[in-house]
């Protein structure tokens, strides 16, 4: 009997040794290389905060690229990675109570993006804590250095940022100062997009939608405190601010990655609505088009042609898609000439009003970028029109400045972006920091970015369930979705592996969610 027990024990040992063992464990070769991830701090804007679908939400924040990076850093000595608390966002609605709407979802019953039903529960209650993720949505480069950017009293004056108000350690704290209290050994810095992007997303207009915003590379203004919220930051100012940020972050020997600023042409916010969105059927067919031409387009064409601008407005085509009418603030003002030409048929008061409406009007061309929100405005009635005969947005009433980034405005954006990126790259080089060239990576989306799994992604906006798996941008058209942030995290990991001789595993992008679709809303 005793022997039997021995046999049983041998048998049990046999089962135990039945565990399969790999020659090399999965994590055998992971290393931080020359980097030290003990205290990783991320500074930046919405792209760093995990902003998507028009907001930061509790779940969305978990997909912030710094959080995705920290998950991999943890394999090779990375310490705790904290982010501002969104515990308030119990139902994951995003938004900010009384300030910002809930996150965007696709309502399948309507087939369109909508703010998810419900009221935001995120408040501005100060957490007064420095976090490892110091991404502040909306921040421009110089905001990181601005005392009071998190002061609740500054909100009404537009001097403070509600997201930084939530976690600034004091009313005169700076974003960078709070970041430095975490004593970073490693950092990512992806700042500067808003220095040009808020100009671009507003179609080069100030917040009233009409008045042109300033490009301070033209004005030469190097005092950010005097900038309008949609102005383009002076590139020299940007470079100075950027140097300060990098000098501060590296003061104690920290290593890190800086990221370049993507061009607007790789963002669906600018590429989704075509410059000629008016199909003949959308215009009501050939009969309607003939009427529109007879009543408006032929007259405008004749007037502009007589003034030496034959292609400023052309008659609408009944066979191919047509451009929209827009206000181009850089166009020659022809209001007087239009009023004069129309007075015989319309009478002086109406003709003058028409002159005001169409004085700076033109049709869009392939060089213009129509912003995403315009898609729900084009073709709707404009109640501010002086006449019901010219009150259809984009068709009989020119769209305001903010709906279009004209070719002139686009050039300003491109020039500023290029100047910022060259500053970023040279400042990084001076400190031997790794550069994640997000501009060049995201530009590949225009033709299709093929990632390591073989999947190809595009810069397209959501256009249905069957192509959803290729979409990297969230429904706000500017910010990546979770899948997009995984691509970004992976690109940064590849840069770290290369530059710092590290070996970190990647995220498997295909498993990350993209667009949120609800059955009804």
């Amino acid at each position: 009997m005793k022997n039997n027990f021995i046999y049983l024990a041998v048998l049990a040992a046999g089962f135990a040794s039945c565990e399969p063992e790999f020659e090399n464990n999965v994590n055998a070769d992971y290393t931080s290389g020359d980097a030290n991830f003990t205290s990783y701090v991320a500074v930046g804007n919405s792209l760093t905060a995990g902003y998507m679908d028009g907001t930061v939400s509790r779940v969305g924040q978990t997909y912030s690229f710094p959080n995705l990076l920290a998950q991999k850093f943890a394999l090779v000595g990375g310490g705790e990675f904290t982010q501002p608390s969104y515990a308030e966002d119990v139902n994951n609605l995003g938004g900010i109570q009384g300030l910002a709407p809930t996150r965007l979802v696709i309502d399948a019953s309507q087939g369109r993006p909508e703010n998810i039903a419900g009221t935001p529960t995120i408040t501005l209650t100060p957490q007064a804590t420095a976090f490892n993720n110091m991404g502040v949505p909306g921040a421009k480069s110089f905001h990181l250095l601005a005392p009071g950017y998190g002061n609740p009293a500054g909100l009404a004056l537009g001097q403070a940022n509600p997201y930084f108000v939530r976690h600034a350690t004091s009313s005169n704290a700076t974003v960078l100062g709070d970041a430095m209290t975490k004593n970073p050994t490693f950092f990512t810095n992806w700042i500067g997009a808003n220095d040009v992007l808020s100009y671009a997303t507003n179609g080069g207009a100030q917040s009233n939608g009409n008045t042109p915003a300033a490009d301070h590379n033209e004005t030469g203004n190097t005092t950010p405190s005097t900038y309008g919220s949609n102005d383009i930051t002076n590139a020299t100012t940007f470079a100075g601010v950027y140097s300060t940020i990098i000098n501060t972050l590296t003061a104690n020997g920290a290593k890190g990655v800086v990221a370049t600023i993507p061009s607007v042409t790789s963002i669906p916010y600018f590429t989704t609505v075509p410059f000629a969105p008016l199909s003949p059927s959308a215009l009501g067919g050939a009969t309607n088009i003939a009427t529109l031409n007879a009543q408006l387009y032929n007259n405008l064409d004749a007037i502009f042609t007589a003034l030496g601008e034959p292609n400023r407005v052309n008659p609408l085509s009944a066979t191919s898609a047509n451009p929209i009418l827009i206000i181009d603030v850089d166009a020659t003002d022809r209001s007087a000439q239009i009023a004069a030409a129309l007075t015989p048929t319309l009478g002086a008061p109406t003709a003058t009003a028409f002159g005001q409406v169409f004085g700076k009007a033109r049709q869009t061309t392939a060089n213009d970028l129509i912003v995403l929100p315009a898609s729900s405005v084009i073709g709707t009635v404009n109640t501010s029109s002086p006449s019901t005969s010219i009150n259809i947005n984009g068709v009989t009433f020119p769209m305001a400045n903010k709906w279009v980034l004209t070719s002139t405005e686009k050039t300003k954006v491109a020039n500023a972006t290029a100047a910022y990126n060259s500053a970023i790259i040279s400042i990084a080089a001076s400190k031997n920091l790794a550069v994640a060239d997000m501009n060049s990576i995201l530009n590949q989306l225009v033709t299709g970015l093929r990632i390591e799994t073989g999947q190809v992604y595009t810069a397209n906006y959501f256009s249905g369930v069957t192509s959803e798996s290729k979409v990297l941008f969230s429904l706000d058209g500017v910010h990546p979705n979770a899948r997009g942030y995984a691509v970004i995290a992976n690109e940064i990991i590849k840069v770290i592996n290369r530059h710092y001789n590290a070996n970190l595993p990647l995220h498997y992008v295909n498993y990350f969610p993209g667009i949120n679709i609800v059955g009804s809303n």
């Binding site: 999965v26 969610p513 059955g519």
Partner: protein, 417 residues
Amino acid sequence: MRKLLSLTLLTLAGSTVFAGGYRVSLQGQKQLAMGHTGVAVVNSAEVAFFNPAGMAYLDKKFNLSVGGNGLFANTKFQNSMYNWEAETKNIGTPFSVYATYKINNWLTAGLAVYTPYGSAVEWDQDWQGAHLVNNIDLQAIFVQPTISVRVGEHFSIGGGPIIANGSVKFNRNLSMNPLFSVNGSGTDVNLDAKGITALGYTAGFMFNPSDKLRIGMNYRSEIMMEARDGDATYADVPDFAQSLLSNTTFDADLPLPAELTVGLSYQVTSKWLLAFDYNRTMWSAYKALDVKFGNGSESLNPRNYKNSSTYRLGTQYKANDKFTFRAGWYVDESPVQDGYFAPETPRNDSMGYTGGLTYQLNNKLGIDFSFLYLHFDEIDNSYNHSVDPITQQPNPNFGGTYKSVVFSPGIGITYGF
């Protein structure tokens, strides 16, 4: 009573795949201990499986062998590019019952009930390869009435029909894309078909040119398990897709491939026997696992197995009236080709080490012990042929490093008079 018996058998039949696709080579304690040789070995009623022709040479009028195995199969998976780790641990209980009765000098009848095919693999639900398989449980019981006819002194033939009864359960996620998920649980489809019946046959001959040498051949036909109107059930369907993914039925065919065995045994001394078997399994019949759903949609899953060989060596030493010792070794080729390495049969070429003994209580009754250890080298491989059913776009290749261990102790009794 018969119904009760068959129910019991069904619950016992849970079996786990190893190297040879979903073939489970555990068809008798004595022969397993000898490296699962047996096409030219006349030891016990187990020969009804290995080569029905051999039943004619059994000394006793009535022979019964009943046995079962505990089959412990573990597979680990990892991929260091993405820091993936996964594991499946499964326990199966294949069994066999063999009985023979010598009607007269030239005719022996027998009945064999055994479980030669089966597969149970259970990864964690929503694991990295969930779009290929979450879990699978394939079971088949073969019932084989058999006769053996002796043709003269040195030659016999044998065979019989096989009635196969099987069931299959299969669960996978619909898509890699979390668009199809609810609260983090991927939308999955569960396929369930029971009571699949199919027919086949076994046939063989045995030739004994001398007292010491036996030569045998056995052929077991392919059996096509045709699941018809099984239940296809969707779970964790997001509300926007409810109308698209309502529960339906499915049809699918799964071949249990034909197997040809040739071999010989040689009685070196009165106590010492050597045996060699060669199996050729016609796995090329398994081209694809194509599922046709009642709602008209289809899921095409290429498998493209190749025919595979197994080489077996076994030996037996009859120490005395009480004890007989056995040992064996075999090499089992995997039928899975590169790029078709699906995690539902996640195993590669293996080497089997077997051993066992019989303790003869008396002239009639003996107890058989056996054990099997299957060694697998770790393998880097992937499945490159999966398609997302929603987008009809190819999924990325799914692969990594796999390592398996299979261990199976068995016990049985042999009774004869």
